[in-house]
Homo-oligomer: 221 residues x 2
């Protein structure tokens, strides 16, 4: 059995949990290796003070069986950076799965990979998926052929467990879920905008205004 090679793209100002959640799960996929790919091997600053060390660069990254692009405010720069978009586009040609978490979907989109596809992204940006030719499907994880997109931040954990189930079978995925004690007990039922009170939505919406504007400017429809 050949080794299944997983590559996460990281870039400045990513939301680190978009990446570290699925990384924790996918790094336990049997017969796999995981690469953390960036423009250079310099530590990459995330959104919350933590810098992450890449293990491969665009130049020396081997062929990938699965590409995963996380999101975050840094997506605006990543999706308008020709070198990054070109890397994703070229690697997608030979990858078995092309995936994203959160607004990482827009990096796939900028590479032309979501044209005519059903997809999802962070809830505050789902209405903008048509800018990259995609149709929003209301689900936490959306499969359309070999393109798998997940919703905001923590949905990356659900996404990764489903990928493991697909590749290694349900029992292995279940054992990883048990290993990370993923038996969630959110203190509130406010994790989805359909159920969060209006006051709570209003607290968080301004956070996204500037990047929504930047997406519109960067992705002329």
């Amino acid at each position: 059995m050949s080794v299944f090679t997983i590559g996460f793209l990281i870039f400045p100002d990513l939301t680190q949990l978009d990446f570290t959640g699925p990384l924790q799960v996918l790094s336990r996929l049997p017969a796999s290796k995981t690469l953390i790919v960036a423009k250079s091997r310099d530590p990459v600053p995330s959104d919350c003070g933590l810098s992450l060390v890449p293990t491969a660069t665009f130049q020396d990254c081997p062929p990938l069986d699965l590409i995963c692009v996380p999101g975050g405010f840094g997506v605006v720069k990543a999706m308008t950076d020709p070198e990054t978009v070109d890397f994703i586009r070229r690697r997608a040609e030979s990858a078995r799965y092309i995936t994203s978490v959160c607004t990482g979907a827009f990096v796939l989109g900028a590479a032309g990979l979501l044209q005519g596809r059903r997809a999802t992204t962070h809830w505050a940006y789902t209405d903008m998926l048509p800018l990259v030719g995609a149709t929003h499907e209301k689900a936490r994880v959306v499969w359309d052929g070999n393109i798998v997109t997940a919703g905001g931040v923590t949905s990356g954990i659900d996404f990764a467990l489903r990928i493991v189930a697909e590749l290694a079978g349900e029992e292995i995925a279940q054992s990883i879920q048990l290993g990370i004690e993923y038996d969630p007990a959110p203190p509130f039922d406010t994790g989805h905008p359909d159920r969060a009170p209006e006051t709570v939505r209003q607290l968080v919406m301004p956070r996204y205004a500037k990047s929504r504007e930047a997406y519109r400017a960067a992705l002329p429809s």
Copy 2:
């Protein structure tokens, strides 16, 4: 209002999601700053190929209002390292909250901080809490005075949201939960040993045998 200072201890071979989950949440606590503390500023290798860059050392770390110790297989070395245990013990004297995720509880324990306390840890180690003088309370997050301990890996997200609710109020915690779209949809109901099938438990148990032995050797009752 003074800045609330949060310090995460990191050490080689930690389970990175024990740390990155609560980091994502707590870094959004208003009027706070978050430090990532290690022995030196050299990148710290986690359990899954990702190295993490500290932002403070034991020497230059300012007083902490909240200390959080994540877990992982590296705990065996961390809890037997006098410099690490001494750092936690000294900082705990002035901290408002002393917390852990997963087997990080045993680092608190090695520092004598769980004597006579109710606590929790990763499910595969809860029976060993008496080795550090603690009583296991069956809950995903356990509060006992100013000591807050969380269960395995992903419980750190639930823990951190509850800390935010305590410090900044429920509405802020709810808005952070919405921001990280924490509306979990685990693909299986196998995240807790009470509900995972025996075959799945058997797949994962061998993973913990060696470190359970090491805990027994390091923590003579």
